[in-house]
């Protein structure tokens, strides 16, 4: 218990440092002004959401082949945490877009992908609530999770071919792109922090799911007795 509180405290301190860095350390962007600072939360959230969904995908694959409940727990924990970051991404996007592009939303490739991704994983979590038997739930939701993750590059590819307006990648983009060094430092600090936050949240959510699984099996034993 003490260890968990300690880790939570470290995560809170790191996030506060990150907030300070985004607000006061990073220089103000020349064209967009202060509003650009939302970028340090927005862009890494997207990357971390994808990373989290990938962790979930690995959990799903491992469950299908090993049938160990722990992989199911990892799958659902990572999907939920990914959903949280995905929601942050969708909410911070319009806040930034409105003053800069003049519109709240546009059906550009990455925005649409994020929305479809959000819908896919909502369906995944919904599916889990509609199956009673724990083993069955774990298996069919794992297979749906695999299908959903395989769909991601296809959705992205199809929309990319179709239309795009989002700023070209500034991180690891082509030549001519790139961030001012302090901005880049703040950005990667945020990314690192969000990854730590992601691991922390997945770990906590996993512990909860494991406890739930245990309670369920005890309940079933009690019913059988």
């Amino acid at each position: 218990m003490k260890k968990r509180i300690l880790i939570a405290a470290v995560v809170v301190i790191l996030m506060s440092l990150a907030a300070y860095a985004a607000l006061f350390v990073a220089p103000t962007e020349s064209k967009m002004g202060t509003i650009q600072r939302i970028f340090y939360l927005h862009a890494p959230s997207g990357m971390v959401a994808l990373l989290s969904f990938f962790v979930g995908f690995v959990g799903n694959l491992a469950y299908v082949f090993t049938r160990k409940p722990k992989w199911d727990w990892l799958g659902v924990s990572a999907a939920e945490v990914g959903m949280a970051f995905c929601t942050v991404l969708i909410l911070t996007g319009p806040i930034w877009a409105h003053p800069v592009w003049g519109i709240w939303w546009t059906w550009d490739a990455r925005l649409t992908l994020t929305f479809v991704l959000w819908l896919l994983y909502t369906s995944y979590l919904l599916l889990r609530t509609l199956v009673e038997d724990p083993d069955r739930r774990a298996l069919i939701s794992a297979i749906y999770g695999i299908f959903a993750f395989l769909d991601v590059p296809l959705v992205y590819g199809s929309i990319r071919w179709w239309r795009t307006q989002h700023p070209q990648p500034v991180i690891m983009g082509g030549s001519g792109s790139g961030l001012e060094p302090t901005m880049a430092m703040v950005f990667w600090f945020w990314f690192l922090n969000l990854v730590i936050l992601m691991i922390f949240l997945i770990h906590e959510r996993y512990a909860l799911e494991a406890m739930r699984g245990e309670v369920q099996s005890i309940e079933r034993e009690a019913e059988a007795a």
């Binding site: 896919l120 199956v131 298996l139 069919i140 749906y144 769909d151 296809l154």
Partner: protein, 224 residues
Amino acid sequence: MALLSNTAVLLGKELRTEFRSRELLTTTVVFILTIVVLFSFTFDPSVNESRRFGPGLLWLAFLFAASLMLQPCFLREQTNDTLSALRLSVNDPFAIFLAKLAANTLFMLFTQILLLPVFSILYNVPVLAAFPQLVLVMFMGSLGLSVTGTALSAISAQARMRELLLPLLLLPLLTPVLIASTEATASLLVLNPIMPWKWLGFLLGFDVVFLTALWLFGEYLLEE
């Protein structure tokens, strides 16, 4: 090739079941027709507007129809627990999926080919100039709908609220098919049709990815 001969036998069974009642095909045709008619109230169906909105309208109707038509695919095996019998009768459970998805593709394609001329007359969009190409696009699109739809129908059949769940699981997954099929159809409905190789290739990629996934994971969906 036990897989192919098993699939052929099972496909025969699927087609026989459907052609004895013709329930699925009639309801789907009427459903798509209803949507096509209702859509005419949502915009001014002049020739130019219809060229712009028509392909999307058609494919959206096909997508909705697929999410309804694929419901009974595995559900009707539950009534008399015929799925266990099917599983016992084939070596490779993939044959069950192959037969079902082939049957679904044929049903989809049949309704689409039937309704394309109706759409053409109602919305004044000539389709004869590029009819074979359109059939090819529709085949690739239907295959995409059926491959994912058949797999998800096996998933939703095992959950509560299955009638609502299947569209919810299926429609977001079909975004790439909707975009590719709509774009491909659109480029064939203009005055000087061009063959949409790019989008056909994309549909082929989609079909291959999910067919492979079904081949790898499908059998687990049929476990008791």
